[in-house]
Symmetry: C2
Subunit: 228 residues, 2 copies
């Protein structure tokens, strides 16, 4: 076996550190994101991640206590920004709940279909069912609760019974997350077109009539522009 400094996996590197300007911790996350989504989580070792990141394996352990911690950080990064957007939208009670729901679905779908790697594909790993990923599941659940809260405030949502509201919110959340599957089948898909179409479809699933869609989309876009 050769040493980490004499051998590189994947992209050859002239220097110890890649020249893309990332901090070592972010370099580890970027390398792991690529390896987990292309080679698979089980098939990737911390040694391979360290080599791809241009670090010694011991240096990787300075930032993360192992492969699970890296996966947990990547997964939390797919839901934490959307939860922050969602909380801000829930509190903006002066705007129409339908427009806020559009903005949430758009923002969440854009996060999931943007970025260089399809990290949402990692949700379905059997390992993610374990307690090590409790923080990810908690944040994702809080995000889903914001969907339910905004839906309940819409005119068609207010007419639903409690069980139907939960089910409808799950479908809205599932529709948004299905961009993960669409992106997997067609990686060349243009993310912003898909995010707009997903948010429109979410309002349809919520029960918003066709005639109100154009106005609500415009209001939703305005809310996102104001938050940016």
């Amino acid at each position: 076996m050769s040493t980490p400094t004499s051998r590189r996996v994947g992209r050859p590197r002239a220097q110890e550190r890649p020249a893309d300007g990332l901090e070592p911790r972010d370099e580890v996350l970027a390398a792991a994101a690529e390896l987990f989504t292309t080679r698979g989580y089980t098939a990737t070792s911390t040694r391979t991640i360290a080599e791809r990141a241009g670090l010694r394996q011991a240096s990787l352990y300075h930032y993360f206590d192992g492969k699970e911690a890296i996966l947990a950080e990547l997964l939390e990064g797919t839901v934490r920004p959307s939860r922050e957007v969602a909380r801000a939208l829930v509190s903006r009670t002066e705007a129409a709940p339908e427009a806020r729901l559009w903005a949430l679905c758009h923002s969440d779908a854009a996060l999931l279909c943007g970025g260089p790697h399809n990290l949402g594909a990692l949700y379905l790993l059997p390992e993610v069912q374990t307690g090590r990923f409790a923080a990810f599941h908690r944040i994702r659940s809080e995000l889903k609760s914001c969907y339910a809260e905004l839906l309940a405030a819409t005119e068609p949502g207010a007419a639903l019974g409690a069980d139907d509201l939960v089910l409808r919110a799950d479908l809205l959340f599932g529709l948004t997350e299905s961009v993960i599957l669409i992106r997997r089948a067609d990686p060349a898909r243009e993310p912003s077109t898909l995010a707009v179409a997903t948010a429109d479809a979410a309002l349809r699933v919520a029960g918003v009539p066709q005639r109100s869609l154009t106005r609500l989309r415009r209001e939703g876009q305005g809310l996102l522009a104001a938050q940016a």
Copy 2:
């Protein structure tokens, strides 16, 4: 290492063959379905599958030429029955296309959220992107084309341009497949309620007005009952 006959992984077995009445080939598929979805594909060997199925490893190779062939068969089993339903529904031109689309979404969602294991979770394995799984991708693509064909025949679908039709069909297909993600998050979810709600949501995404939903759902259920 002990021999396959002296050691069992998981459920202990008193006999060489499990007593659940399956043929050896189906026993292999059932064992692999459980292991791939709970332990992971990479972490599962053909030796472990054979042991769980109550077979010698050499006997497993009598039915499948390796782990990839088993995964391919499992994946094809998640789309082939729906493609057959879809083709039959496309040809039933005497029925309303909206009702046929409802029936397709219901049937497909019920297949994906029924069965003992969430096999759709395997779609996102990096390995499935390789040419070994071309037949699965072809059947899935044919199934998606049936969604697009039925959507195009609906009144709101007929008003869409070509690009919007493809995008809308992808969203319908993604919504149906999102039961995979919903089931992963909540394995106790009642499959038939979820399948009905998904099919209703699909008609909403297709642009069918709320007032027609109850009638079209009844017609869709009638079509499925006639096919069963």
